[in-house]
Symmetry: C2
Subunit: 393 residues, 2 copies
């Protein structure tokens, strides 16, 4: 089977999420991703406790989520022999990616200028909290901090409690923008032979991710009041019925955009019919939400989903992960993939979400142990056993 | 200035968000994006009321957010002359993108097979709610429905109220995965000349976006109880202090991962020091959150952000959009871009969030009026004035 990025070599110095989630996609597309990790401890995500726990064998499930299709080269980057090995590996690499704080990796001798000397066509992508320059360059950058600074937390949750989004959306968005930036640079390099430097930051990516809300803020006059719904069950920029509703069996459904007179008929609530004007409906959305919630509470989740779908109304069940993993469409799309891990046995991971007719993503390498491929990678670059032991010591 | 996708022609049949937000990135990178819209009404996003309103001149700010760097070709696709024009334009196009419900565009004569006959190397990308096949193929697909079905809403918000995320995260994630899929396919086409079909859906993209949480669900034993924090101010998979806290001036801050003994010292709460074990801290996170909240409430947002940053603790203010647009780092990164719109005058849009050293994103074309470039585009493809009037009638 053909792989899009076959032959593309990536030196990946990233850890945590935003970098690894991006480079995993490049690996899924066939790139040769060499994960350069500290020989002691490795990627800090390996020891990130989720729900206070690691897997029974001592790995973080979050690490497992984002590091398949990479090989691990465990190094002490302060060892001069290891340093030379990195330079040698970089000679014919296409991309270096790193997400240390600005300036840190360059101080170790692995900045863009260092690699450019060895390999003028290299693409060097830095990922940081706020960018490589500017007033916040020395601040700690992290997913929830970027969520807070981007305006997202202020919009999320109930009126009385701005709430961080329940998935690390700044890291997630950044991982994808970073992948786009690298694929764009690889395309340019393919056309021109030229490399370049890329600067991708969490805060900017999360602003771009909120381009709708921010463009509304910048262009609506008068500027609308951006308040969370009192109920906290709706999107802050949309009126009822748009939102989540509890059903008689203690479960939830969501209902999307529906004209209010149609909604009035559907649930038998004629008092809604006077709110077909969307501005009026937005103004009174808490009240309207209460009316609709009163009706929805009279029947089960299954009833409402079937009933609404029979009228082609935007409606869905609010699933837990336990329900997600049993969903027939999720199975049909083969989104949950199982692979053999060298220490953990069979593990489950989430597949790439795009389906190519000729060049499908492939899952060939489980998330590696620290340094699992150090010798193999060094051998590929012509090192002898003696040299390898100097590099790895 | 060089543009990465200079000379790449994209026929863009998408509307709403997930498609347009992706094709805008391709336009930012220099592709020639031809937005094929209904001559009457255009992209339905144009009339999407945000906070119940449109801009004063009758455009949706959400449309403005996602349609720069595209030219609009307004057509009635059932007019045979218009149909022929689409085929002629597609002869040397590189990509067709569409997000109609599965099968709908093919019925109009614009499926993959139709374009492949004219142009064997074409890349044809479909975006749908759940995929082009499978049990949910005929269901309505939309951002909040995908959020609900993916497990995200069940994790977001307070314990007693699962809450849709305050930005359309399924559309956003999909727009980026779709862009990645297309860039990958363009790279493959550059190397081999081959086109192919791509199938990208909201539900799968949002599962991939939650790869951390789902991988935890699939691999932790026993399966952890996935409950929202009682306070709703924290991430559901992480213990205190991780979360948002109210300050004495009625504002909020977030505090990231901090060892509990360090936190005890920092805020003068020695009772925290017994919770250095992360599993224990996770179990008692609501109680610990309350203790920390009690202390944070004693001083202002500004105080706490400065104080915590002076110890290099992950901390940030929870900003409103009013604060975001005045943020000096946002300005430094030039994330808010102003451009001249043919009807609205100067508008504000959000820039691309990646900075290339040689091939920066450029903003050359404001979000177009419906059919603003119909004649120009048809002329470029050799049509005479008479023919053009038949096509546009």
């Amino acid at each position: 089977m053909q792989r899009i990025l076959e032959g593309i070599k990536i030196l990946d110095f990233t850890q945590y999420k935003a970098g690894p989630m991006g480079t995993q996609i490049l690996g899924d597309l066939g790139a040769n991703v060499i994960k350069v990790e500290r020989d002691k401890g490795g990627d800090l995500e390996r020891s990130f406790k989720t729900f206070g726990k690691l897997t029974q064998e001592g790995d973080s499930p979050f690490f497992l989520a984002m590091n398949r299709n990479k090989r691990s080269l465990g190094l002490n980057l302060k060892n001069p022999a290891a340093k030379e090995a990195v330079y040698r590996i970089a000679r014919d690499a296409d991309v270096v990616v790193q997400n240390f704080r600005p300036g840190v990796l360059a101080k170790l001798g692995f900045g863009y200028e260092d690699f450019k000397k060895i390999n003028p066509g290299i693409i060097y992508c830095s990922n940081s909290g706020y960018g490589l320059t500017g007033p916040y360059v020395s601040r700690p950058g992290q997913d929830m901090l970027a969520q807070a600074m981007s305006g997202l937390i202020m919009m999320n949750g109930r009126e009385d409690s701005p709430t961080p989004v329940a998935t690390s959306v700044a890291d997630g968005a950044t991982s994808l923008y970073l992948t786009i930036a690298i694929l764009g640079a690889l395309y340019h390099k393919k056309c021109t032979g030229e490399g370049q430097e890329l600067d991708v930051d969490l805060l900017s990516c999360l602003l771009a991710f909120q381009q709708e809300e921010l463009t509304a803020y910048l262009n609506l006059r008068p500027t609308p009041e951006f308040k969370r719904a009192g109920s906290g069950l709706a999107a802050p920029w949309n009126g009822a019925p748009y939102g989540a509703y509890k059903t008689s069996d203690g479960r939830y459904i969501v209902i999307g955009v529906v004209p209010m007179d149609k909604m009035a008929d559907l649930i038998g609530a004629p008092e809604l019919a006077g709110y077909t004007d969307t501005e009026l409906a937005f103004e009174h959305r808490d009240k309207l939400w209460e009316i609709i919630q009163g009706k929805i509470l009279l029947n089960t989740q299954e009833h409402w989903v079937e009933y609404m779908l029979s009228f082609d109304v935007w409606c869905a069940p609010v699933n837990s992960y336990a329900e997600v993993v049993k969903d027939p469409q999720v199975a049909h799309n083969r989104m949950l993939h199982r692979m053999e891990h060298p220490a953990l046995g069979e593990i489950g991971v989430v597949a790439a979400p795009f389906r190519y007719s000729s060049t499908p993503a492939q899952y060939l390498q489980a998330p590696p142990l620290i340094g699992e491929h150090s010798e193999q990678i060094l051998q590929e670059h012509g090192y002898t056993d003696d040299e390898i032991s100097r590099i790895l010591n």
